[in-house]
């Protein structure tokens, strides 16, 4: 076909940028690579199995579902890969493969495709996957393994050792120093350092704060996300924890707050559009998660914090400094 015959006639907008869904998703995958590789390196084969199962089943479920409803296939935009990767990174490394597959089904089919696919889902798909798994299999989803190479640097003889996360130790009435002792540290600064570098029990991707921050800075530098939500979420987590008498630094460094703040609370479809909305979203998620940690039944509340704020996003989106087309304060009438 000659060049001029392939011209398109279309309505506005006519200006395009080279930013595509695929490009943004690729950025997220690049940002997640350090934590993924680190998670696999400390938790071993089991973590690699979870990551692989999750990504493959997410992509497969999306292809199968879209084939069933005769909808356009769009696995090329990599969004299912990102969902799969995020889901794997917020699961314990010992999760059985079939549970991971159920989580992927919940994420892709229930949380995303049932609502109309990418961009139409009100709730973060990966978090829905985790929430459904946590409800269905509480035992499997809260059994943690210490990294095979223990914190003291010596190679351990066993493949994996059952242990509690620092947050779970506190939930069961333990002290901060007790939690510190579980990582083989005997002073608070050492404990913070251990939490920061991440060689401790937890979900595959949430342990190393350092590598999450590197990924987050990469996303901000490439303008994939803006820093409003993560900053608000982390700051309010620290402030509100301090207010309730919990060590603020420990609150931020333990569990999945940092991971959630950079990778879950910044999802495009499920978070507010305006800066004011983003700040409130982060702050609200932080308040809920601290309340759950302090008073709720679970040791960790990041999942539910972010999911609950997802539900109020339509209201947060109404917060604008000025209505479009209005002039001054008297413009309403």
């Amino acid at each position: 076909m000659p060049e001029h015959q392939s011209l398109l006639l279309s309505s506005s907008p006519h200006v395009f940028t080279n930013v595509s869904v695929r490009r943004l998703m690729l950025n997220v995958i690049i940002a997640l690579l350090p934590v993924t590789v680190y998670g696999i390196s400390i938790f071993g084969f089991s973590a690699a199995r979870v990551v692989l199962t999750s990504v493959v089943s997410c992509v497969l479920f999306e292809i199968i579902f879209r084939a069933i409803i005769h909808s356009k296939q769009n696995f090329g935009d990599l969004s299912a890969v990102v969902t799969g990767l995020l889901l794997a990174l917020i699961l314990p490394p010992s999760t059985p493969s079939w549970m991971v597959a159920i989580g992927a089904l919940a994420s892709i089919v229930v949380a995303k495709e049932f609502f109309g696919g990418l961009g139409h889902n009100p709730f973060n798909p990966a978090l829905i996957g985790r929430a459904i798994l946590l409800m269905s299999f509480p035992a499997a989803l809260t059994s943690w393994h210490r990294p095979p190479l223990d914190a003291l640097g010596g190679a351990s003889l066993t493949d994996a050792l059952s242990t509690a996360t620092p947050l779970a130790i506190l939930k069961d009435g333990g002290t901060l120093m007790g939690a510190a002792g579980s990582l083989g540290t005997d002073s608070l600064p050492d404990f913070y350092t251990a939490l920061f570098f991440g060689n401790h029990a937890g979900c595959i991707g949430e342990t190393s704060i350092l590598l999450i921050l590197i990924g987050g800075v990469f996303l901000i530098a490439t303008k994939t996300i803006v820093c409003a939500t993560p900053v608000a979420m982390l700051a309010v987590t620290a402030l509100f924890s301090a207010l309730l008498g919990v060590d603020p630094l420990f609150s931020v460094l333990s569990g999945g707050v940092v991971f959630g703040a950079f990778f879950m609370a910044t999802d495009y479809a499920t978070t507010p559009l305006t800066t004011a909305g983003k700040v409130l979203f982060g702050a609200g998620a932080a308040v809920v998660l601290v309340l759950i940690r302090q008073f709720g039944g679970y040791p960790e509340g990041v999942t539910y914090g972010i999911l609950m704020m997802n539900a109020v996003v339509p209201y947060l989106n109404k917060l604008r400094e000025k209505k479009y087309g209005s002039i001054g304060k008297g413009a309403k009438k």
């Binding site: 159920i102 229930v110 049932f114 459904i132 409800m135 269905s136 299999f137 509480p138």
Partner: protein, 206 residues
């Protein structure tokens, strides 16, 4: 005869009280955690619906319009109390398991809705057919939901182990969020059935 048949068939899919009219949902999501509960609830509902529609249809000409609601409530409450007492006497376990949802049949929207919209203006024969049709529609959705939820959430049906021993129950399905999901899937199933049933006449939407 044709009209009578269409009154009966209407409630099954085309105007399914749960999946199309979407009333009486609270108790439906709450009791469908086990098949026994589902069957018990259905039996109670259908009995009350049938008797109330019949009685109110028979007396429709003597019920004054402006106090019809209290009269409907009295009639429905009488039959609900019967169901409640019979269940307590003969099925104490079931009565225990369903707790407050049996007395709450009094204010179930399906019964109030059918009595107000149908039985108070149609003759007794039609009212009975309407109650039976709605009852069948209610039954298949409610019992269907409880089969899915008990099977997946507990691995059993009516307490008998159906799934293999190695099956690990997905607790999500017996918890309230799973109830909403299963209910949504039944709405989708019912819409698909309605499309099949009506064929060319299907207008879309509900």
């Amino acid at each position: 005869m044709n009209k009578a048949l269409s009154i009966f068939l209407r409630g099954i899919v085309i105007e399914n009280p749960l999946a199309i009219i979407m009333i009486g949902l609270c108790s439906s999501v709450a009791v469908t955690t086990s098949v026994a509960n589902g069957i018990g609830m259905t039996a109670g509902m259908v009995f009350v619906l049938l008797c109330s529609e019949l009685i109110i249809s028979l007396f429709r000409k003597v019920i004054p319009g402006n106090i019809r609601m209290p009269i409907f409530i009295v009639v429905i409450a009488a039959f609900t109390t019967m169901v409640d007492i019979i269940m307590q006497a003969y099925f104490p376990d079931l009565s225990e398991a369903m707790g407050v949802f049996i007395p709450l049949i009094v204010v179930n929207c399906i019964i109030m809705g059918r009595v107000e919209a149908f039985a108070s203006r149609e003759n007794a024969g039609h009212a009975v057919l309407d109650a039976l049709g709605m009852g069948v529609g209610y039954a298949w959705v409610l019992i269907g939901m409880s089969v899915v939820r008990e099977l997946l959430g507990n691995g059993t049906i009516l307490g008998f182990q159906i799934m293999p021993e190695s099956y690990q129950p997905v607790l999500f399905f017996v918890l309230p969020p799973g109830g909403f999901l299963v209910f949504a899937l039944f709405i989708a199933l019912n819409i698909a059935l309605k499309k099949l049933w009506l064929g060319q006449d299907y207008k879309g939407g509900k």
